[in-house]
Amino acid sequence: MILFKIENLVKYFGGLAAVNGVSFSVNRGEIFGLIGPNGSGKTTIFNLISNFHKPSGGKIIFKDKDITNLKTNKICRLGIGRTFQVVKPLGRLTVLDNVIASAFLRVHNKTEATKVALETLEFCNLIHRKDDLAKSLPIGERKRLEITRSMATNPDLLLLDETAAGLNPGELDEAIELIKKIRDRGVTIIIVEHIMKVIMTISDRIHAINFGQTIAEGTPEEVANDPAVIEAYLGEEYAHGK
């Protein structure tokens, strides 16, 4: 059953087409990987979904409803949570207050919100940091705070933008565990990730883009063996190695 889809999404920045006609649909309960070389348009797609950028063309459908031009906060209220690749902690608030602020979306009194926040911190394994200021966290835990915060808004669909980047191997395994745990709670996930170990092991399906256009879609094996994908990545490595 399809929970979410984008149809022919286009975004121009000036003359540059950062996203150029991408379509995909995501089933309820799956982990959907979105990959592509640097600058291929992954973050832009997330920004279009949450309407930080207005699409130049195309449609975004969530739970059979066209959400293309809804305001960012409405989209979250409807059940789409997201994290930021460049993390945005509420720096001068404690970790707990960060999460309480987002829990207030669904409950309207402080006691309830605190309860939800503590549960979510426990679930995401960040409870030991609850009284620290968000700005004092190291990058790994900041990324976890991003996930915790959006989980506290009780989303049906979660957009994760490189939440595993910059983690050490131990933290990486933890992150994979957490993402699986979130899925097991019934949350559908779209994940952008460069670390192949992560994306290949947890995704049910993967959608690959390059220069804002689709180049492949399928199971992790299919996509890993796709000539267009290999070329996109090898081409990039080649360019880096020049």
Partner: protein, 336 residues
């Protein structure tokens, strides 16, 4: 100890006019209390919601003129302004915020500055309503300062309790989220435009009521007084910055300090220059004495620079630092 400070302060403030009968000091304390409310109201917008505002006088003046017009146009008591001044200020805040909260950062600050000036000009030009530069005069209800003192004290206490409870609620969390990161706040489902409006309207309401009280107390207003950029809008900012932006008691401390500094300049360093002039008989000192009393804006500027350099979080925000400096002095004194 820290926990009881507010109660001790409140007790002292309650008995103050009964103990200190000198009406000059009572007058100064009324000004302090008025500035506690204005400063606390202003603090909500930049201190808690992160939107720098230079337009406080727009709300203050609107409240003051509401009270004045009840008397001059309707022939009613200017005290009606206390009931309606807050709402009149919100009537200004609402359309302004609706349009200008689409602007971010410095652009919003500039828009609020413009609002201040527009209001002042309207009050000056619309003579049939406001008497223009002639101003509005109302007969004070009380001869004694004590009734005004207690009205101001009640308003100050109400503001602080109200703001404190707002900051513990969902609204407060949303204000702080917007201050810390507006994009993050939006993505967490917070309608940032709406909550900025709420924050501005709370500030406008409190400031408007205070304006009405000011009209009743002073008995006279004109556009240059109540829509003044430097004596109201900038002063509100100074009360906040000196006391500590984004803290409940910052504006309280800031109000005491700023009224004191303002008075210090107004009286020419407590009459120091006047005395000096008459003692020395020097024309130069006499001229200085004349200008010093008008130089409070310069004094404010210097004070702000010092506070920003040494106490960037204000007196309340950097309290631990101040204590630290003093204990270090003490320790040094003991060891030597």
């Amino acid at each position: 100890m820290k926990k009881y400070t507010p109660y001790i302060l409140l007790f002292v403030l309650i008995i103050f006019p009964l103990v200190v009968r000198n009406s000059y000091y009572q007058h100064l304390m009324i000004l302090v209390l008025i500035w506690v409310v204005i400063g606390s109201g202003w603090n909500i917008i930049p201190g808690y919601t992160g939107q720098v505002s230079f337009g406080d006088a727009a709300f203050f003046g609107t409240g003051a003129y509401t009270a004045g017009l009840f008397a001059s146009k309707l022939g009613m008591s200017a005290w009606w302004g206390m009931a309606f001044g807050g709402f009149a200020a919100m009537a200004i805040a609402f359309p302004f915020g609706w349009i200008c909260f689409r602007l971010r950062g410095a652009y919003f600050a500039l828009a609020s500055l413009a609002l201040n000036e527009v209001c002042r000009h309207v009050a000056t030009v619309w003579e049939s309503l406001t008497n223009g530069m002639v101003g509005i005069l109302v007969m004070p209800t009380f001869v004694s300062k004590i009734p005004y003192y207690y009205v101001a004290l009640s308003l100050a206490v109400f503001s602080i309790i109200f703001i404190q409870s707002v900051m513990k609620s969902r609204w407060g969390y949303y204000f702080l989220s917007i201050r810390e990161d507006q994009d993050a706040a939006e993505s967490l489902g917070i309608d940032t435009h709406y909550y900025k409006m709420i924050s501005l309207n709370i500030a406008a309401f409190l400031t408007g009521i205070t304006g009405s009280l000011f009209m009743n107390y002073m008995g006279f207003i004109d556009p240059e007084v109540v829509f003044s950029l430097h004596d109201i809008s900038i002063m509100a900012i100074l009360v906040g910055i000196v006391g500590g932006v984004g803290t409940i008691y910052g504006p309280v401390v800031g109000a005491f300090v700023m009224v004191a500094v303002h008075e210090f300049f107004r009286t020419g360093f407590l009459g120091f220059f006047k005395t000096l002039a008459s003692v020395t008989g020097s024309d130069f000192v006499n001229t200085v004495a004349k200008y010093v009393s008008q130089a409070h804006v310069l004094g404010f500027g210097i004070l702000v620079v010092l506070v920003i350099l040494y106490l960037p979080n204000g007196i309340v925000g950097d309290w631990d630092k101040i204590i630290g400096i003093f204990t270090r002095f003490k320790r040094k004194g003991e060891s030597s």
